[in-house]
């Protein structure tokens, strides 16, 4: 007999169902334990001595984390999906149909199917601890709630609030859940179960009824016209956020719109059908795979040796530019004192301003209190001398991209710090190994590459050199993760991973322009594909001069295939540097941008390729370079490339990543097109890399099928 996931005990006529998935850290709902629950509920249903039922979890931080994602991932047909949704619904319906009071006691993460289960109960209570996270994040995985969430939540808290939770896949704190009406009471963690049982007794004895929460707006929720307006507004919001690439939120809205206020049975059926339809899409599959990969990248240990956590009393930052200021803000946000050093007194002020602007906008959004702002800003201090950095456990260099300057910085830092201080460089393209070699104790030198804007971009590349010690690598990874970043470990090659892939993409856009495409066309193709920004707009954002600098380094490192399009040089010579000079490929005025007519004059006349070919050239050139990276072991696996591209460049998540997309297209098709471009353009930059050719010949894919 298998170990059971559900345990039942009784206390004064109250049955306590405790969910404790065997051999697992978390509780998730799967076919097996749902079936078990079904049997248990049938048994309970036949007993007339029970006064109430309390459902809780035995795991420390988890109530129920949701339905088993791997089961959803494996769904292959709509019938299969429909069946899964209906199965769950049947069990939850049994809970709902129980005549005695039912109470869910939420002691930790309560997400997706887990929260839907609590919705089938008559009451929900939670602990007030930070461990509690409640929400219906299904849309983030490309599906919608399938166990009645779209039906029961709008009825419980009204359609407006329900939409705000479901459509955005929002996960909220216990306090917020109480405010929204998603739970009925909060109890202190320590006495959660005790108070919950006491509360259950009150319900049983006094027939406590839930006070009908005042609707936030009678007009908007209770009248057809009002609801019409709400739905229309929600639709606009979805389109703005998803740009039409993600069907799940729209589907969820559709289901709620069609079913709210109607008969329950039809609603449940419609929900299951919508769920089934979405669960089999590539988009959902991609998002699920990405979710799983991301979970893995958040945690995986890099080294086998156990490394004690790095206690950081101060972090030093050298270079008070945009990156320096951004890094300082991020670090201070985690409560760590930061000292910024620069040789320019004026720069110090602008770094403070950089950080302050980020905090100010958080303050405006009420994500930060005034006092927190004062405290966190106070953690950032600035100065002109290196001496004060001695107290730092980690010093991050973010000075100009010039090896001579970097060498000087590392030389200076070597003078004042000892072996235990980690020296990190935020360079985007220069050799970390060289910086290590000019430093005393080179084993503590490492690359730590943040992306701009630092507080928003979730990725960091960590670049150990051959000298870097395992301990320093492990500690740096730990540090980056403690800042909330996803880490990929990359070999010390020029451009590391992200810039090495991104540069050919932007460069290709410049070539396309040379051939006669307008910037708007090229960018449109990219954004239609799902990129957050077109390559030329991205060049403007980065700064054309800076991009040219990186391009030059890559050209030197990788030869002709990375040769910078001559257009970039011409543009730069004309003083068009991008967003910072208000003029680049576009002209920027406030928040608006329009194509820059000056650009057209530097174009050669020619024929712009078809939109299809534009896209292929932009994306395939990246895929081609990515296979080189795999072969050179710049990163160890395909998923690292996909995670990096999505987190570091905003590559569309619903496509699953660059190499998932390559698998979707097929290596052979890519090779054929690359060869065609090579012949058309008479250039080697399209020559398929050996690794890609091999895949194509053997009909293989990057990921196992």
């Amino acid at each position: 007999m298998m170990t059971k996931a559900w345990r039942m005990k009784e206390e004064g006529g109250i049955a306590i169902l405790e969910f404790d998935q065997p051999d697992a850290d978390v509780n998730v709902l799967n076919s097996q334990n749902l079936l078990e629950l079904k049997h248990l509920l049938a048994e309970i249903g036949s007993r007339h001595d029970l006064k109430a039922i309390v459902i809780t979890s035995a795991k420390d931080r988890i109530f129920i984390a949701g339905a088993d994602i791997r089961e959803i991932e494996k769904i292959s047909s709509t019938t299969d999906a429909l069946e899964k949704a209906e199965q769950g619904k049947v069990v939850l319906k049994m809970i709902e149909d129980l005549e005695i009071p039912t109470l869910a006691v939420i002691n930790g993460a309560c997400l997706g199917g887990g929260y839907e289960l609590t919705l089938a109960c008559k009451w929900r209570v939670a602990s007030s601890s930070e461990k509690v996270k409640i929400g219906l994040p299904e849309v983030n995985l490309g599906v919608i709630p399938g166990f009645g969430g779209t039906q029961r939540l709008p009825r419980l808290i009204g359609p407006m609030k329900a939409l705000s939770v479901i459509l955005a896949g929002r996960v909220v704190s216990a306090q917020e859940a109480l405010k929204l009406g998603m739970v009925d009471r909060l109890f202190p963690e320590k006495v959660l179960l005790k108070n919950s049982i006491q509360f259950t007794k009150e319900i049983v004895n006094r027939q406590l009824t839930r006070s009908k929460g005042r609707s936030s707006s009678w007009f908007l929720e209770k009248t057809p016209l009002g609801r019409f307006l709400v739905y229309r507004q929600a639709k606009k919001g979805i389109l703005r956020l998803t740009k039409g690439f993600y069907p799940a939120p729209m589907k969820a809205l559709e289901v709620i719109q069609k079913t709210y206020g109607r008969e329950a049975v039809c609603g449940f059926r419609l929900e299951s059908e919508a769920f089934a339809e979405l669960a089999v899409t590539d988009i959902s599959k991609n998002l699920i795979k990405l979710f799983l990969a991301n979970e893995q990248y958040k945690k995986f240990p890099r080294t086998k040796t156990h490394v004690p956590p790095l206690e950081i009393k101060q972090c030093g930052v050298i270079g008070a530019g945009v990156m320096g200021g951004g890094i300082a803000q991020l670090v201070s946000d985690k409560g760590i004192p930061v000292r910024i050093k620069d040789i320019q007194p004026q720069a110090l002020g602008s770094a403070l301003k950089e950080a302050r602007t980020i905090y100010d906008s958080a303050l405006k959004k009420k994500k930060l209190k005034r006092q927190e702002l004062d405290f966190k800003m106070g953690l950032i201090s600035v100065g002109l001398t290196t001496q004060t950095l001695r107290r730092s456990q980690i010093i991050i260099e973010a000075v100009v991209e010039d090896m001579k300057v970097k060498e000087k910085v590392f030389g200076e830092l070597s003078q004042i710090t000892d072996r235990s201080t980690i020296l990190a460089s935020n360079t985007s393209s220069l050799s970390i190994t060289r910086m290590a070699e000019v430093s005393r104790y080179p084993e503590r030198v490492i690359g730590l590459h943040f992306f701009n804007p630092v507080h928003k971009m979730p990725l960091v590349e960590i670049i150990p050199t051959p000298h870097t010690s395992e301990e320093v690598l492990a500690k740096t990874i730990q540090f980056a993760r403690s800042l909330g970043k996803t880490v990929i470990v990359v070999k010390d090659v020029r451009g590391f991973l992200v810039n090495r892939l991104l540069m050919p993409y932007m460069n290709e856009a410049a070539y396309l322009m040379e051939e006669g495409c307008s910037p708007a066309t090229v960018d449109q193709v990219a954004t239609d594909f799902g990129m957050p920004m077109g390559p030329l707009e991205l060049l403007d954002f980065i700064g054309i001069d800076i991009a040219a600098k990186v391009a030059k380094i890559l050209h030197e490192a990788y030869g002709e295939r990375m040769k910078c399009a001559s257009l970039m040089k011409t543009v730069q010579e004309k003083g068009l540097l991008g967003k910072k000079s208000k003029r680049g490929f576009y002209i920027y005025k406030g928040k608006k941008k329009k194509p820059n007519p000056d650009i057209m004059t530097v174009q050669k006349s020619g024929v712009c390729p078809s939109r299809n070919d534009i896209l292929k050239r932009l994306i395939y050139i990246m895929i081609n370079e990515a296979t080189r990276c795999l072969e050179e072991k710049v990163v160890e696996e395909s998923s690292a490339i996909d995670i990096a591209m999505i987190m570091g460049t905003g590559f569309p998540p619903f496509r699953g990543g660059l190499l998932r997309y390559a698998d979707f297209v097929g290596a052979k098709n890519i090779v054929d097109d690359l060869k065609r471009f090579r012949d058309q353009q008479q250039t080697d930059r399209f020559s398929p890399a050996p690794y890609l050719l091999r895949l194509s010949e053997k009909h293989q894919t990057f990921y196992p099928i």
């Binding site: 110090l348 002020g349 201090s381």
Partner: protein, 426 residues
């Protein structure tokens, strides 16, 4: 008893109130200094045993301002902090409290200092208005509220300046400037002498600008952080006897001599010192800037509070068995030019010595060449809770520059007290 060492200190620029630091709170100024002190001394914040701050007008939104400074300044939360108030000697008091704790072995490393944002002194409602507002808050029905609102009269709305109150002696009712006029009359000190003294303060502060930068942390003004303040903005380069002579007496319109020009300025600023058990300092490898062995506080008639230094100096010399001539450098806080001049006269007066100290000989004359050599509060400003710590820091730094062994710092205290500290260097 353990020997107490001053390791280093740092202060913000002293900035005329309602100017550059208008939007910075007293705790922000203090925290900035604490943070920078840690940076410059390379001290592990976790080794600090306690933080003590002097503050006269404590910010209403930061009760026990020392605690707020401690946390904002990056001292771990498990370290205690408290605020002291001995009016103008508040940061003398914070320092000597630290000395006492270290001497007794209760603490080994203490950050002591003072902070004051006179720009942010609040305006208050009178008691009548406060009573009405309380009633209003408690009122339940609309009509109750309305009837209370009708009781408010125009006079109730007149705000009272907390700063004004702070600068007025609560027991004798004189404001500080009026006590200065008392001394002017008692000692017959002329307007001209006062103005000349004031002018010298400005000239010396201007000349010392470079030197003073060593003890100042540049402050960048939020939210744009574009303006960098790295000097005191009180000293006037073009100050002259003519300009000073044009000013009207503030406290006694017709026969008075005390003007805005020969009084200390109303100022914002903070200053901190790092104090350690001397043994501990040596074991940690710190160089010692100076040490504090002797100090004294005295009380006197509040209406002659400006003479506080005379009595305090007499007491500290008596206790230490030292003489005024042993002091190689002297700082007497320039609350008012006339008050410092009166002190000098009293110190040199046999009659005064006979009357108040039952002594046949005077305490001694102080050569102006060693008094307030880098200017004083008339030029630099007098953020009341901060000045004491600044005097110690400025004096120790100058003793170091001149390789002197002994210095004396003293100040008068509103409410009728005086404080004096003898600083020593090896």
């Amino acid at each position: 008893m353990k020997k107490v060492a001053v390791i280093d200190g740092i202060r913000t620029p002293f900035v005329k109130s309602w100017t550059l630091f208008d939007r910075l709170s007293a705790h922000q100024l203090g925290a900035l200094c604490v943070n920078e002190l840690l940076q410059r001394t390379d001290l592990d914040a976790a080794t600090v045993d306690e933080v003590i701050f002097g503050c006269v007008g404590e910010p209403v939104d930061a009760a026990n301002v020392a605690r707020v400074i401690s946390i904002y300044g990056g001292i771990p939360k498990d370290k205690p902090a408290y605020t002291v108030n001995r009016n103008c000697a508040s940061s003398f008091e914070s320092v000597t409290s630290a000395v006492e704790k270290i001497r007794l072995g209760l603490d080994q490393i203490v950050i002591a200092g003072g902070t004051e944002s006179m720009s942010n002194a609040p305006f208050l409602f009178g008691k009548d208005m406060a009573v009405l507002l309380m009633k209003l808050a408690k009122a339940k029905t609309f009509f109750e509220k309305l009837s209370i609102l009708f009781q408010i009269r125009f006079q109730h709305l007149k705000p009272i300046s907390a700063l004004q109150l702070a600068l007025t002696d609560p027991t004798c009712g004189l404001n500080m400037g009026q006590t200065a006029e008392v001394l002017a009359k008692e000692f017959g000190i002329s307007r001209m002498d006062q103005d000349a003294f004031a002018l010298r303060s400005h000239q010396r502060a201007i000349a010392a600008r470079e030197k003073l930068r060593e003890e100042i942390v540049p402050v960048r003004i939020p939210p744009d952080y574009e303006i960098v303040v790295q000097d005191d903005n009180g000293p006037r380069e073009n100050q002259s006897m003519e300009t000073l002579a044009k000013l009207r007496p503030v406290f006694d319109r017709y026969t008075g001599t005390v003007t805005a020009g020969n009084s200390s300025q109303i100022t914002d600023g903070a200053c901190v010192l790092l104090l350690m058990d001397a043994e501990k300092a040596k074991s940690l490898g710190y160089k010692i800037l100076g040490s504090i062995e002797h100090y004294a506080y005295v009380g006197l008639d509040p209406s002659r509070m400006g003479l506080g230094p005379v009595f305090a100096i007499e007491k500290v010399l008596r206790q230490s068995s030292l003489a005024l001539k042993d002091m190689e450098l002297v700082e007497i806080n320039e609350a008012f030019a006339v008050q410092v001049l009166a002190c000098l006269e009293a110190l040199g007066s046999q009659e005064f010595a006979k009357r108040y100290f039952s002594s046949a000989s005077n305490l001694g004359l102080i050569n102006l060449d060693i008094l307030n050599v880098n200017g004083g509060a008339i030029a630099i400003g007098h953020p009341v809770g901060t000045s004491g710590a600044r005097l110690i820091l400025t004096c120790l730094n100058e003793m170091k520059r001149r390789s002197l062994k002994r210095g004396l710092v003293s100040l008068c205290v509103g409410g009728g007290q005086g404080g004096a500290i003898i600083l020593e260097r090896e």
